[in-house]
Symmetry: C2
Subunit: 349 residues, 2 copies
DNA sequence: CTGAAAGCGCTTACAG
DNA sequence: CTGAAAGCGCTTACAG
């Protein structure tokens, strides 16, 4: 028995389509069609092939299939930093959607800032590896956009709108405006704003739009909207929000409310306010934007965006674009005001 | 001019190694060697090839290279949920390390719990796609372990130790013990413990080891370590910590300190304590484990683990194992006690 | 130091 | 409904 076995050529790499074909007495072409549910295979033949493949434990080589078909069955996800809540959340829901559809998630980190400028996007790292691409919170300049197009795969932008491409996000300006109106309704007149980096090169950045939402609302209500009510940071982390709040309160001790461009900044603001011996929600109200999972624990009021849904929608859009190349779509999802003890009526000084 | 151009056969897929070979008047074998810095190519020839490849903008087809060589140059990362801080943090540092080494990161989410049991690991999704695998915070049963080994690639486990495999993590029991001793030093005698899921099937789970650390320390100091001082949850989120703390304080109002098995649970505990009108750090002290980025904003004292370093080490170990198959290694990294206003001396009742 | 050729394991017109 | 064969674009013994 062993003698017979040992005379067989045992292939290290496992069962190939050829082995299934021989065992079923059909051609590899027919096996290939049967396994992929393509038309043109007799029901009896198909059943036999499927059973044999199953019995042999045949798994098609993804790499060979890719080379032959030109499709990789994986989707690229480019984003600044997986360890940040927003990106992790989007990635998770997108990955789940891709997985269900039989696609792999290839994640690339492209840090926002290394020193003064962002690292540039190089499409060659992705070339030939993906069927579609999702880009999170990154704005591409013309040369990067050209790189992107040279990949010849559909692209979906999330959070930052890139003209001419698919987009999934929220109405950032209106969201910030609504938060601002809410604070005004509570009687606040001196409302500071913690912003992310804004610059002329990216007027579509969410951080710029949120700042506009604050600014335009303050103006409409004839309230102070001068620049010294704004403190901007490069990356919207809690620790940066903490530092920015200290500067803001040093400069403008008359502030009774702060609208932060992100929940994480708002958390840092809460910390800074407490350390000054002021009461959050009484002396100074704090409102965030995002709907961070930890906001309830912070007692933070916020404008929540449907983050998971954004990831899912982006993934669905990417998948749909693989099969039917259509016009770029824009999907804008609604945000929700979430109350919390971090905000209260303006103190009657 | 256009006439000449249009008579050329324009290949949609781009420049192939064949094109570079023809332009350089050498064989594709030589081009292949030159481009990969293999020995046996004359310096002049090599220079010419490199320049021509550069000029033509040649990018080797990763899929063809994989099929021919048997190496994919990508690494799988299996973990429960990218949107959770710990996993995002590890993924980010691991991805950065892989990228620098020229490897892609293929991320798979395998949810811990869907209903009562975890979804099972199926190696076939990964078969033929990766050169190595990193598994985060997942414990594999014998059948899953067999699946894993059938992939024939090196595997590194992070956070949960899997006997017989590479491992990167911390000393969970000692870390919890140290936190516990610190609280005891502050005069606390009734110390509750917020735990993750523990069960007999996984005695090596960090959550079990942390619980042991608490338990053994309480015993050594002849303090109450009974089960009703422990509240366990399935997933260690802030909201689960919030609920668990309510139950814990209802049952044991004599508690003056809580050791949470994760910072996120500790954050939920802080929220629950505040809502009862008790003062965190005065009436009840709270200590976490992990070193979450948002802990400082919470004023949370914690045992910090070097999370990014764990990801980097795991990635390095995975990369090293690809080239030299060695004995499974175990890397244990140190944790650090971080003070914060969430802990204080036991109240003198 | 270099090349001709087989081979990696699939898919896809094309022909029947 | 099915098959023979070319082709995807590389790498790798093997031979010189």
């Amino acid at each position: 028995m062993l003698g017979i076995g040992s005379t067989l050529i045992i292939r290290f790499m496992g069962i190939r389509i050829e082995d299934v074909a021989q065992a079923t007495h059909v051609s590899t072409a027919t096996v290939s069609r049967a396994l992929r549910n393509l038309p043109g295979v007799g029901p009896t033949t198909k059943k036999r092939i499927l059973e044999t493949a199953e019995a042999l434990g045949y798994i098609p080589s993804p790499t060979a299939a890719s080379l032959a078909s030109g499709h990789t069955h994986s989707i690229g996800l480019v984003q600044p930093d997986m360890s940040r809540w927003f990106f992790g959340k989007i990635l998770e829901s997108a990955e789940n959607t891709f997985r269900k559809a039989g696609y792999d998630a290839l994640v690339y980190s492209l840090p926002d800032y290394l020193g003064p400028v962002r690292q540039r996007f190089n499409a060659n790292v992705l070339r030939g590896k993906i069927d579609a691409l999702v880009v999170l919170s990154l704005f591409f300049d013309p040369s990067e956009e050209e790189q992107l197009r040279s990949l010849k795969v559909p692209v979906v932008f999330v959070s930052v709108e890139q003209p001419g491409f698919n987009y999934v996000g929220i109405n950032d300006e209106e969201t910030a405006a609504r938060a601002c109106r809410h604070l005004i309704t509570l009687g606040h007149k001196h409302i500071g704003h913690l912003s992310g980096q804004t610059n002329d090169k990216c007027p579509v950045a969410p951080t710029q739009r949120r700042r506009n939402g604050w600014h335009n609302t303050m103006q409409r209500f004839h309230l102070d909207s001068s620049d010294d009510l704004v403190e901007a940071v490069t990356i919207m982390t809690a620790s940066n929000g903490y530092i920015a709040t200290q500067r803001l309160l040093d400069r403008r001790p008359d502030i009774t409310a702060i609208l932060a461009s992100s929940d994480e900044m708002a958390m840092g603001a809460i910390q800074a306010i407490k350390e000054r011996g002021l009461r959050v929600g009484h002396d100074i109200s704090v409102m965030g934007i995002d709907g961070h999972d930890l906001s309830p624990s912070f007692g933070l009021a916020t404008m929540a965006q449907p983050v998971s849904q954004e990831g899912t929608k982006a993934a669905q859009l990417a998948l749909a674009s693989i099969t039917n190349q259509t016009e770029p779509k824009t999907i804008v999802l609604p945000t929700t005001l979430v109350e919390g003890p971090s905000i209260g009526p303006a103190p009657t000084s």
